[in-house]
Symmetry: C2
Subunit: 271 residues, 2 copies
């Protein structure tokens, strides 16, 4: 039994979908969320910069005495999870491994697709993990316009459809039977993506998968908290106003007094 | 005669178009460019965060002994120029004022339009300056998808056309006779924008205007350098690899050995 909170970080607001699923499966756990909204997005940045930011985020969460770190951001999971595990002595869970495990459960043909940000796809992390877990036919593609489309709220109009049709071209006609939505924003475009690819392709959203994995891991290591108050605190590095509005929309609840501004400058650290 | 360099900062790579125009008008001046590619874009962030980043950028340039600071980024010009002028004792030129002056020269009907990032438009800075210089009919609109479209290289396809048609709807049918392209990336979409609005609307790109203003200002204050070597150094906060490729494309020249990584962590400063 361990009452310390679980830390979850993301490049912005999208990772709240991961927090939400963790809350559903582990309602008694105390959760601390950090969204790096001042430096979002990570997906267009270099690997070194994303690792550096991930270290700062982790050090911030450690200063809040977390017992485990969940990386909700696919780009940070792809680029920083190994480094964070080697540096810090607590469980670090990345959303990518969870997505790959879910893909193994869901794909029947073994033909798998992955879409993500430029940095996620360039890192080759999904491909490496998919190959390791037995997939041999892997198609991946970066979809840089999906994040700005989702943030603009253009998730189901003509532009979204045209953009999706262009990006998803390699995945049609039976090329894959499952597609990993390798970015927290992409589930917002699930309707359009599903319409273009049809029923033959199942769409994998890793938020649920990582929540299940976290639950197992806490139980296995004796870190779970089954009688806590389920308290939540939300930190953001950019002004909290926008986070309050947009974050509320992601979570379907009022964040009100549990939202704070985080200053990461004291956590800067050479890597 | 003052041999110190001129400092130019931008949220990323787009401001190189401003550097280019300054180089054309003032070929002997030494120029130092800082692109904050690790934290780009500024246009979706809060005003406080953009001001904070602009202060760090300016302090970095001051550490290189610049004689003047040019803010190539519209969002930073809109939100931070007044603060920077109040804090630092050297000429600080913002791209917005230059664009407004150019608009006054170009508009015949006095009906003017402005497009920019969300932060630029929300700041109300263009509207305030346009009103001050006599415009009474001002239409403005944020176009958040233009930057990611330009970065994806989708500047003249069907998606770009659909997006532009949606955003530019308020400016058609004689609503304005000039449109300020209030973001360094937007000139890359000039073809599509021009086609949609037609010949009756002149498109204003402030890069040339600010170069002219800078030349005047240096002459008036005795800061010009007419016999310098025209040396250039380019600093970026994210990995220089991408900046080398994309930046070269913006400038049409090889940046090669004149490109450096900038660490801004020592320039953090409360505002």
């Amino acid at each position: 039994m361990d009452e310390r909170p679980i830390g979850i970080f993301d490049s912005g607001i999208g990772g709240l979908t991961v927090l939400h699923e963790i809350g559903v499966l582990l309602p008694r756990e105390n959760l601390i969320y950090l969204g790096d909204t001042a430096r979002v997005p990570y997906g267009t940045k270099s690997i070194e910069t994303v690792v550096r930011y991930s270290v700062e985020n982790t050090r911030f969460l450690l200063s809040k005495d977390v017992k485990a770190v969940v990386i909700a951001c696919n780009t940070a999971s792809a680029t920083a999870v190994d480094f964070l595990r080697s540096e810090y002595d607590l469980p670090v869970l990345g959303v990518i491994e969870a997505g790959v495990e879910e893909a193994r459960r869901r794909s029947r043909t073994g033909k798998i697709g992955v879409i993500g940000t430029s940095a996620t796809i360039q890192s080759g992390k999904y491909e490496a993990l998919l190959r390791k877990s037995g997939f041999t036919q892997i198609i991946s593609a970066a979809c840089p316009l999906f994040v700005p489309l989702a943030e603009e709220g253009w998730t189901d109009n003509k532009v979204a459809e045209d953009v999706a049709r262009t990006y998803l071209e390699p995945f049609g006609n039976g090329a894959v039977d499952a597609l990993i939505l390798g970015c927290t924003h992409y589930p917002l475009l699930e309707n359009v993506i599903g319409r273009i690819l049809g029923d033959g392709v199942s769409l994998i959203n890793s938020a649920k998968a990582i929540a299940a994995k976290l639950k197992e891991r806490l139980a296995a290591t004796g870190l779970q908290n089954e009688s806590g108050a389920g308290e939540r605190l939300y930190f953001f590095t950019d002004s909290v106003e926008r986070a309050r509005t947009v974050g509320g929309r992601f979570l379907g609840e009022n964040l009100e007094n549990r939202i704070r501004l985080a200053d990461l400058s004291e956590f800067a650290h050479p890597i």
